[in-house]
């Protein structure tokens, strides 16, 4: 089947956004979104791995039998993450100093296995790469947004330490939003991540229902099915109940 790229983009960026649509990858979300900068670093590293694992899994999809696909995907993803870690460390060492902390965390991101299972294993390599990119960008945007909310409310700054990640030229991004702020520790700690996530989910739900009411999207929202592998099945022909 030919891939519908605008649908893939919409799915990755909004409808099935890893955080706000699929509710996956909450572990990295809670761990790194204390600041917007860390969210950005984690998001970009994950996006790169999503693209690569999408292509790799799409290329081997016909060689894998259904019974062993999950362990085979895990092997491929773990291999890619380790290779990226080693290559960055060797040849882009300054970037590795900053992103290096995030890369091992990517293995814990079930969204990557989820995309491998739900999309890459059923589509051509270019479509899988595009899906990985869109999912990754949607994920990055979510992490930066949650990170920004937590950082502003929790420590009164925005993009703290951005110059370490992006170079001194982008140091102007570092803003003190609330001067002489004592900080709100709860929001920096993982519970704060859950609280902010809850409010943002409610917000997205309102936007979605407004859109539906105004007839923007005429799709009858099918109930999504979540499994341990993080697979969801918006299409009626989905085979989640295996």
């Amino acid at each position: 089947m030919s891939a519908d790229y605008s649908k893939i983009a919409r799915s990755g960026l909004w409808d099935d956004n890893i955080i706000f649509g699929q509710m996956l990858a909450l572990c990295p979300l809670l761990a790194v979104t204390g600041t917007a900068t860390n969210g950005l670093g984690m998001g970009l590293a994950t996006a790169a791995v999503l693209v690569m694992s999408g292509v790799a899994i799409s290329l081997v999809r016909n060689a894998i039998t259904p019974e062993i696909r999950i362990p085979a995907f895990v092997l491929v993803i773990a291999c890619i993450v380790t290779v990226v870690d080693m290559a960055l460390n060797a040849w882009l060492h300054d970037l590795h100093k900053v992103l290096g902390l995030f890369i091992p965390l990517i293995v814990t991101n079930c969204a990557i296995l989820g995309r491998a299972e739900a999309f890459a294993s059923r589509n051509s390599a270019p479509a899988a790469a595009f899906d990985g990119l869109m999912m990754g960008l949607g994920f990055t945007a979510s992490l930066v947004f949650v990170g920004a909310c937590r950082e502003i409310l929790g420590s009164g700054t925005l993009f703290a330490n951005a110059s370490v990640l992006l170079g001194p030229r982008l140091g102007f991004l570092e803003i003190t939003v609330i001067p002489d702020y004592d900080g709100f520790l709860l929001l920096i700690l993982p519970p704060g991540g859950f609280i902010i996530l809850g409010f943002l989910l409610a917000l997205k739900s309102i936007v979605d229902s407004r859109q539906r009411a105004s007839g923007h999207t005429a799709d009858s929202r099918l109930p999504k099915v979540f499994t341990a592998a993080g697979v969801l099945s918006p299409e009626p022909e989905g085979e989640t109940a295996r």
Partner: protein, 235 residues
């Protein structure tokens, strides 16, 4: 059952082009085939990892050495030495810490500062801490060389992310007293981070052990090196 029928079918038409295909399809459904395929995948990924590891090992070691040299320059001030700190490191065998590589700053043939690594164990595994210590056992500076602590919580031990690590400069085992070499939560005098106590605890512990190491080995550490490799033109 599928296997049996497929084999029978294949036996009927041994020369037909579908013969091999039928055999392969039949074989692919057998449990042994899954095992073999998965084993093949494991071998392939292991091969890729081995090749990449081999390609990158040298470069990664070079980068680690560069990092060490850059950090050495931060814990040994330029104005107390006339040698190249990285030249002629000393390896001491300590009963508690095992072999420790010590880099020495020399001025006029006398040791004016020492630097060595200590390992602490934090939330994410090994934390390599580099200490610079002057001849009286006072800290010239402390830097974390490598760690895998949680971004945003434990990584404030990096000099690039917080000024916490500069707190150690000028301290010694007598200042603060031996009982105060702990994080505040444990009754000591060092701040922990909000949300991360284990990381600073590991770093404070490693620095304290480093100073005790200095105390045990002070004579050996301060002995003037026999072969004076100090080159006057070194910056």
């Amino acid at each position: 059952m599928t296997e049996g029928s497929a084999v029978a079918e294949a036996a009927e038409h041994p020369a037909s082009p579908g013969w091999l295909r039928g055999r392969i399809d039949a074989f692919r459904t057998a449990p042994i085939a899954h095992g073999l395929l998965l084993g093949l995948f494991s071998l392939l990924t292991a091969l890729v990892l081995a090749v990449v590891n081999d390609l990158t090992r040298g470069a990664i070691e070079d980068r680690a050495t560069e990092d060490l040299y850059a950090s050495l320059a931060q814990v040994i001030p330029d104005d107390i030495r006339d040698n190249e700190v990285t030249a002629g490191p000393l390896t001491l065998d300590d009963p508690q810490e095992g072999p420790v590589t010590v880099y020495r700053a020399l001025q006029g043939g006398k040791v004016t500062g020492t630097a060595y690594e200590m390992i602490g164990y934090g939330y994410g595994g090994r934390i390599e801490v580099l200490l610079g210590v002057d001849p009286d056992g006072q800290l010239l500076g402390v830097r974390v060389l490598s760690h895998a602590e949680t971004p945003g919580l434990g990584d404030k031990v990096e000099a690039a992310k917080s000024d916490w690590i500069f707190r150690f400069t000028g301290l010694s085992l007598g200042n603060p007293g031996p009982d105060a070499w702990k994080v505040k939560r444990d009754g000591g005098s060092f701040d922990q981070f909000s949300g991360a106590t284990i990381t600073p605890r590991a770093v404070v512990g490693a620095v304290r052990r480093g100073l005790e190491f200095f105390g045990r080995n002070q004579p050996a550490l301060l002995a003037a090196p026999a072969d004076t490799t100090a080159s006057p033109e070194a910056k």
